[in-house]
């Protein structure tokens, strides 16, 4: 399909919207209400363009222009909203660059949008990252003719603990309303009243926690703001670090915004393959712990039995002394399963070096699923999904959004050189959902509201019951799986806890019979990747569940609440209960401050980048293990990220130093597993994540300034001249 934009001819797939045609041609058009992954509605009228098409005669030939002999272009009488107009074969589009009419229409709309806008820019948290500001500079007249009073409504009104609303700043683009209806399927926000009095509010007494934070990303103005990051900094002051969230196994792409060494804000980053443009509230707002009450120096136990601050050298000496009379192989090594692959490799190589049998990572399950794995795109484009024993709100929230995407047709917006389609005309407001394509077996969860078939069942035996259905409901689910062409089975903690090899073979048989792909939600952010490493107890080794029986232990970022029998070294970001019991505490970095690679629930390798958060002397696991090796009197093979990646290339044949931005699916050929001895209860929000950013603010550094700040006297009335 050939389209001409400002005289530039481009070739586009049929169905492209005019706004995407303009951007595809490298031209620009302002817009407020259109947003990728949401339905276009043509509410803001900023994307007005002039357009025209050739017309055909009755005999099928083009009406020709008598002067030029070319097909004549019949222009629409008025400027058209390009976000809701489909580009058609031979269409001509003129943007503000080549059309006076369009430039005037856009400047006029800009003036109109700014009429009632409050004069909050200097105090508005969005200032500097505001679409309204940017478009006003680019397309507005730069002057105001409106001399009357502006709209007065309620301001700085908290819709929930996390989202704050300013009704005066709202330009009524309806992005947030459409987001809630279309993406998480929650109808909680809407316009109230009509005309100039229209405002956004909720009748539900507040926004539900889950996916509400995304409206703070998509709001083009400062009407909806992240309350956790409110008044923390200006957008241009933050150090933006693109990285991956490791709170759950989905591995959403995020941008971590830090300022003066504090993590102030997390915003979603687009990854079409994983989280599209959305992240969950835990991922966005649950970052309080990264800058609050951090451990910044090592602690060792003194003669009085108290933990006191020490240097790394003293800590290494303390570990060395604590191991006197012990074989270094008695020191058990335990790490959190959200550690990176590089850290896992470092631990595996140290375990090899010390010859310890006591190695484990947590959380994990005992089963290795060999059935064909589904990707998140497979889930979104499936024609039937069966969720067994999963509470996605706790285990993998974005997976829930991808399932809801499947229910409304699995329409993935196309991608252009300028990114994801700004307006995908197939997406419509208040989409029709097909709940019959979703069956949920297990405990009650948020997803129940959207499922056509809900089978209350004990997650543990749900699969075997499904395999030989004993009720009409389960027979219905089996029929759904068998009738579907691209079914996906999602397995959660209730099904995977205590599952064994027979579970895996039963699942493989079911997948083979129905042609289903399987997405087994791993227990932690990198459980899937770490399973490729030998990080499970060797024969006779003590697993994590029995840590108290280990002769001595090094515990990285885990809080079992017990210590080992002998020397206990805890490596953690905070002084946890376990750390209080330890002999030596080493400060760790959070996953926001790591470089490395994790593997998400679909097997995608995703990179972590280091955000500029001040962590004192804290150190990641790789360097801590090198220090631990030093204390044990051996030289660690892996001493840094590079050597870990080299070892990964040798052992696993993967290049971790060049993981593409969107990640890459990788299947490890060999997986290790062992009995866990305890069940894993997934929990997305933990107590420390709820520490509000404001609680941790220290003003001591301001009061303690020894010099007085230069203060200039007020200017003379009327200016200096």
């Amino acid at each position: 399909m050939k389209v001409h934009v400002d005289g530039i001819e481009i070739d586009l797939p049929a169905g492209t919207s005019a706004i995407d045609a303009v951007f595809a041609a490298g031209q620009d058009v302002p817009y407020f209400c259109a947003n990728s992954y949401l339905s276009p509605v043509g509410a803001c009228r900023m994307c007005l363009v002039e357009s025209g098409s050739p017309r055909k005669e009755k005999d099928g030939t083009f009406t020709l222009d008598e002067a030029t002999g070319q097909p004549k272009i019949f222009w629409f009488p008025k400027p058209m909203a390009s976000c809701t107009m489909q580009a058609t074969e031979g269409m001509h589009i003129r943007t503000a660059k080549s059309s006076e009419v369009v430039a005037k229409a856009q400047a006029g709309m800009m003036e109109f949008t700014l009429l009632n806008h409050p004069l909050d820019c200097p105090t508005c948290d969005k200032g500097g990252a505001c679409e309204l500001q940017d478009r006003a500079f680019e397309y507005g007249y730069g002057a105001s003719r409106f001399g009357f009073d502006r709209r007065h409504a309620d301001k700085h009104y908290p819709l929930s603990d996390f989202v704050i609303l300013d009704q005066e700043r709202c330009i009524h683009c309806k992005r947030c309303v459409r987001y809630f209806e279309e993406v998480p399927g929650q109808e909680v926000l809407d316009f109230i009243e009509r005309g100039g009095h229209t405002f956004i509010d909720t009748q539900e007494g507040g926004l539900p926690t889950g996916f509400s934070g995304n409206i703070t990303d998509i709001c083009p103005v400062g009407a909806l703001l992240d309350n956790v990051a409110r008044f923390r900094g200006r957008n241009w002051e933050y150090d933006h670090t693109p990285t991956t969230c490791t709170l759950c196994p989905v591995g959403c792409s995020i941008t971590v915004d830090a300022r003066n060494g504090r993590l102030e804000r997390i915003v979603a980053r687009e990854n079409r393959e994983v989280n599209e443009a959305w992240i969950c509230d835990a991922g966005r707002f649950g970052h309080g712990f990264a800058s609050a009450e951090r451990l910044t120096t090592p602690l060792i136990r003194n003669e009085d039995g108290k933990l006191v601050e020490a240097t790394w050298d003293e800590a290494i000496t303390a570990i060395n002394q604590g191991m006197v009379g012990r074989d270094m192989g008695e020191l058990g090594l335990y790490l959190n399963a959200d550690s990176t692959l590089e850290e896992g490799i470092a631990l595996e190589s140290l375990a090899e070096l010390t010859g310890t049998r006591h190695v484990d990572h947590w959380p994990r399950y005992e089963v290795n699923i060999s059935a064909p794995a589904a990707t998140l795109t497979d889930v979104a484009t499936a024609d039937a999904v069966v969720v067994i024993g999963a509470d996605l709100g706790e285990e993998a929230p974005i997976l829930e959004l991808r399932i809801l995407e499947m229910l409304r047709g699995g329409l993935l917006p196309p991608e252009f050189a300028h990114g994801t389609a700004i307006a995908d005309l197939r997406l419509i407001e208040r989409p029709v959902r097909k709940p019959e394509k979703l069956a949920v077996i297990g405990g009650e969860s948020r997803l129940w509201a959207h499922a056509g078939t809900k089978v209350p069942a004990n997650g543990a035996n749900a699969l075997s019951r499904l395999n030989s259905p004993d009720t009409d409901e389960l027979r219905g689910v089996m029929k759904l799986l068998e009738a579907a062409e691209k079914p996906v089975i999602v397995l959660g903690a209730d099904a995977l806890n205590g599952a064994s090899g027979s579970f895996a073979s039963m699942l493989s048989a079911l997948a083979a019979r129905t042609g289903a792909k399987v997405m087994a939600i791993p227990a932690a952010a990198n459980s899937k990747g770490l399973a490729a490493l030998n990080l499970v107890p060797r024969s006779g080794g003590v697993n994590y569940a029995n840590l108290a029986q280990a002769p001595a232990a090094f515990i990285s970022r885990l809080d079992p609440g017990v210590r080992a029998k002998g020397l206990t070294v805890v490596h953690d970001t905070h002084l946890t209960e376990t750390a209080r019991l330890a002999d030596v505490v080493l400060p760790a970095v959070t996953n926001y401050e790591k470089r490395g690679t994790v593997q998400n629930l679909e097997g995608r390798l995703l990179g972590l980048t280091q955000a500029a958060i001040s962590a004192g002397e804290a150190s990641d696991l790789i360097r801590t293990l090198a220090a631990l090796a030093e204390a044990l009197g051996v030289r660690a093979k892996v001493r840094g990220l590079k050597s870990a990646q080299t070892l990964a290339a040798e052992r696993l044949g993967i290049k971790l130093d060049s993981v593409p931005e969107r990640g890459v699916i990788h299947t490890f050929t060999r997986l290790y597993t062992a009995p866990t001895g305890r069940a894993h209860t997934p929990q997305l929000w933990t107590e420390r994540m709820l520490v509000r950013a404001a609680d941790g603010v220290s003003t001591a550094h301001i009061a303690g300034l020894s010099q007085t700040l230069p203060v200039f006297p007020a200017a003379q009335p009327g200016g200096d001249d």
């Binding site: 409050p118 004069l119 909050d120 200097p122 105090t123 001399g147 009357f148 009073d149 007065h152 409504a153 309620d154 301001k155 700085h156 009104y157 908290p158 005066e168 109230i192 009243e193 009509r194 009095h197 405002f199 509010d201 007020a714 200017a715 003379q716 009335p717 009327g718 200016g719």
Partner: protein, 126 residues
Amino acid sequence: MAHAPDAALYAQWVELLGWLDAEADRLGLSFEKVSDFPDYIYRMERPYDLPTTVMSVRLNSGGQPLLVAAVSPRHVDLKAISLRLMGGSKHWHLHAGETGLLEGKRPFTRERLASVLDGAMRGVAV
């Protein structure tokens, strides 16, 4: 329509703020400032002569705004005081009169405000 001078509007606005505060006390609502005049915040060295810096206030019922009252900033044309019942599609447009606030030609007295708020409270209770 003959209007009292602007000074009367702001004096009556301050009086209305007092009424709102007292009525909020009576009805168990919270009375909060919503915003200051931009013309006060950003005035830099320019003189400022209004009796208050408060441009809009709200009466909250259970954390949700019930009524928002606002006055026009000093530089705008066709100045007025506006009262709006949030979500009720009810809007009052008040002007300064020689002896007190006017709702069109009808005096807007404290009793009138009390009856408006009583009505709003009945709506909240439903």
